[in-house]
Structures are given as C-alpha cells and as structure tokens.
Symmetry: C2
Subunit: 291 residues, 2 copies
C-alpha cells in the first residue's frame, strides 16, 4: 500500500541532499555569482520536476542514483527560466515563491548572469557525472532539445509575441503551453524512460504533455482567482499584461473544463502503465492544487 506523503518526503529529502552536493560546485566561483544562483534554486517549493523524475525512475525499476544529476540539471534550467522571465524587460515581476525575484534582490546584471550560469551549469553537471555513458548523452540531448529553441525558449518567445494580441486562438495557446510549460515537464518522464532503454516512452510522453497543459491551465485559473499572498507571486498579472491565456480563450469555466479534460487524459495514460500508483496520486494532487 502506497504511503504517498512518505514517498514524496523521501524524494524531497533525496533532492535536497543532491542539491547540497551540487551547490558545492559553487564554493570556488565568485561569491556574487554563487549567491544569486543559490538564491534562485534553493527554495523550489514542490520540486515538481525532480519528483516526477524520481517517481518515474522508480516506477521503471531504476534507482534514484541513476538519474540524480538530471534532477539537478532540470531544476537548474527551470530556475534559470524563472530568473530571466522575471527580468524587467520580460515579465517584470518583483516577487517569486513568496520572496523577491532574483534580479530584484541582486540587481539586473546579476539576474542575467545567474540565469546564464544556471543554464550552463545544467549541462556541465550532467557532463561531469561519473560514468557518463551513451544513455546519459541521449537523455541530455533530449533535455537540450526540450529546453531550447524548439522547446521552452520558443514557448517564451511565443508567449511574449502574443501579449496584447487581438488574435485569440486555441491553436496558438496550445502551442505556447506545449513549449513554454509542457516540454520541461515531459523531460523528467522521458529522461527516466531513456535511462531504462525507452520503456513506456510513448505513454510517458503523452502523460507529460497532458500534465503540462493541466499545470499551466491551473496556473491561469489561480492567477485569475487567487490573491498574490496565497500563490506567492504577483496575481492577476496575466490580465494586466494582456497575455494569451486559457482564461482569455475559454473563459474561467471553460478553462476549468480544459483542466479536467487534460486530467482525464493523464489518467488514461497512467492506466496503461504498471506501478504507477505514486504518479497517479501526484497527478491527482496537481489537479486539485490551489497554489
């Protein structure tokens, strides 16, 4: 019988240990680079991506050690994307995870450089792992693709380009959400799959995509419904910036229906896999979350 909370705590604890090991890499770099990088990655809240990575790895019979460097890499990339996204020239957000955003705390130049540092570090850390092998290379290639110019960065650009646009298109919305949000959530599932020679690859790809859609639409709903204090970042930003969101395309009730639709898609994927109890619960909590 699955003890969900105990498993989650196990993954968080393991990630925290791994992060402490990784942060030792910052001991010999300039302090005014180490500080904003550490600040940006240290308080990561739910650690959705590492937990997805670990849970998928265990589901597929891998050990947590088999994927530990990728947990750091994915979270580094996630953190850099938030730091750069919060910059004045981008979303211009002073708060993140209930505290000052990195550039607000350390200045804009250090925000830019800390973001660059975290992105570069993701690759450096995996390439430096013991016994780096060809499966690691294949998994790292996927991360580079999904995080890069035909993945997350493309999503950021599309997001930016569709601000204040008169065009309200479901197709464009889904293209933004696939790239901006879903691709980096697919990485932990697919990296674990690659590391176990491609087991459940197609099912996990479909699952990750729908987790991504559900996750981003939930963010839109929370941005519209909740206070800044509750969600730990500036609320109602989307409307102020006139972003293309699920709310704008489907309305609030319509967005909630889309969230449910993608939740059901997730469940259908999970039904095709064995030992998916933890992932099933994890997706359910993501669906029900209010922050």
């Amino acid at each position: 019988m699955l003890n969900y909370n105990a498993e989650y705590e196990k993954y968080l604890k393991f990630f925290s240990q791994q992060l402490n090991i990784a942060l030792k890499s910052f001991d010999n770099i300039p302090q005014n680079l180490a500080e904003p990088m550490t600040y940006a990655i240290i308080d990561g809240g739910k650690r959705v991506r590492p937990v997805l990575l670990f849970a998928t790895a265990e589901m597929l019979g891998l050990s947590l050690d088999d994927v530990k460097e990728f947990a750091i890499a994915i979270e580094s990339i996630h953190s850099y994307s938030l730091v750069h996204d919060d910059l004045p020239a981008m979303d211009n957000d002073d708060y993140r995870r209930g505290k000052f955003s990195t550039h607000k705390k350390f200045g804009e130049a250090y925000g830019i450089l800390a973001g660059d540092g975290l992105l570069n570090f993701a690759f450096e850390y995996v390439l430096s792992k013991d016994n780096f092998n060809m499966l690691d290379a294949k998994a790292l290639k996927l991360l580079a693709e999904y995080a890069g110019i035909s993945g997350m960065i493309a999503g950021q650009v599309l997001d930016l380009a569709n601000e204040k646009s008169a065009v309200i298109s479901e197709q464009i919305l889904y293209s933004i959400y696939e790239n901006k949000t879903a691709k980096l959530l697919m990485c932990p599932l697919l990296i674990s799959s690659i590391k176990s020679n491609g087991k459940y690859y197609d099912e996990l790809k479909e699952l990750g995509l729908n987790i991504g859609y559900m996750f981003q639409i939930s963010d839109d709903i929370m941005d519209a419904e909740q206070s800044s204090e509750h969600i730990g970042k500036t609320a109602n930003k989307d409307q102020v910036q006139d972003k293309l969101t699920a709310i704008k395309v489907f309305g609030l009730e319509g967005a909630k229906e889309r969230r449910e639709y993608h939740y059901n898609k997730c469940l259908a994927c999970l039904d095709k896999m064995q030992n998916a109890d933890f992932l099933y619960q994890f997706v359910k909590k993501l669906y029900e979350r209010t922050k």
Copy 2:
C-alpha cells in the same frame, strides 16, 4: 610552403558552410527568435575561435569534419556572451561589429532570449551530431566548464564587480582576463587536442592562455587608442565605465609590454609543436592587429 591567406580563406569558407547548415535548425522555430539569433551570429568578423579550432585540428592530423559541430558551438557561446554583455543592465552598448547590438535592433527581451537560445543551442548542436562518442562528451564537458560558472561567466561577474573599484590589482586583472577572455580561446585548442586523444594538451593549454591574455590586452590598447569607427564598436568605453583594464593597471606603454610578453610566451609554446606554421602566423597577426 604555407599560403597563410589561402588557408585562412579555406577555414572561413568551411565555417560559413557549416554555419549555413546549423542555421537550418532555425527554420522551424519562431521567426522572432530565429532573427535575433541569426543576427547575432552571422557577421562574426575574423572567426578567431573557429579558425583556431580548425587549424589546431589539422595540425594534429584531424579533419575539419571531426570538429565542425564544436566550431558552431563555440561561436554560438561567444555570440551569446556578446549579446548578453551588450544589454543595458550589463555594458549597455548600442553597437557591435559595426552594427546595432542585438537588443538595440530587436528589443531587450529578444536580446535576452536570443542569448539564452544561442547558449542552449551550443550544447544541443553537439549532442545531436552523428556518431556522438565519448571523446565528444569529454570535449563538450570542457566547453561547459570553460564557458560556465568557473570560466567565462565567472569572468563576466569579476569584470562587473571590479568596475569603479579603487583596488588596482594585477592579480585580479589576470583572473578576470583568464576567465572572461582566455578560457573561451583555449577551448578550440583543447577540444582539438581532446579529439586527438590529448596530443600536445599542456602546450596548447599554455598557448591558449597566452593568446587570451594577448588578445584582451590588445583590446584594451585599441579601446584607448582607436576611434569607434575603426574598431566597429564604441571606443573608450573602458575608461568611461571605469573598468579594471591593463591600461589602468600598467599604463598604455606598460600594457604594450605585457602584450609583447604574452606574444613571446605564445612563440615559446609554438616552438614545442610540429606543423604549427599556420598557428604561428595566426598568433603573429593577432599580435599585430589594430582592430
């Protein structure tokens, strides 16, 4: 007998062909990401780093094909570093290579994203190469280290942190120049060495370091002596920003002596290697350059 100019043209032409192949990767990404990325990498002037890579590869008996993806990767990283360095929060420079800097042309948000895109693309491109093998992994690891938080990015931070500083330290200056400039110039030499199983590794490391010092001190001298029109970027910036430069530490004549000192160090390294005729001429031209 070496025909230096013909060899240089051969390397430039090969790089240009490879860049055209690489730019095909931008065909399916959002146009407003492809445009600033292309703009940032397309007019690269002398292509110092790719030419160093190719010449070293041939000196060591490799073919240009053996290192072609690394030429793109190094130049992508060099280009991203310039794009981010020119941003208003960093060096705030409106001109680069005789044209508008990327953020000035496309806006600051696209400057940030194009830089992120080029950095990520460097890794993606090498990881996607045909027959990626463990020597490629080792070479890519070196690139990640030298370009990253214990290399070029550290150098940028040190450079920034020592602006307007009352401390005039030769040791700090050399630490900045080693990281900010030399490490990315060492990469092409060391990557070719790694790809030929470590041949002349120590000699090439020492050579690259001294090329880096000579190159950066030359930049300082040109910034102080030449017009913006001549060097294709804003001149006399260092003094205006009160940067820690070789001029500030050694004075103009002293800086010229340091340039000569590192040139002689380069020659001593080159004397230890066979088939180094092209590199010898290349270093000599770098020493004599006025832009």
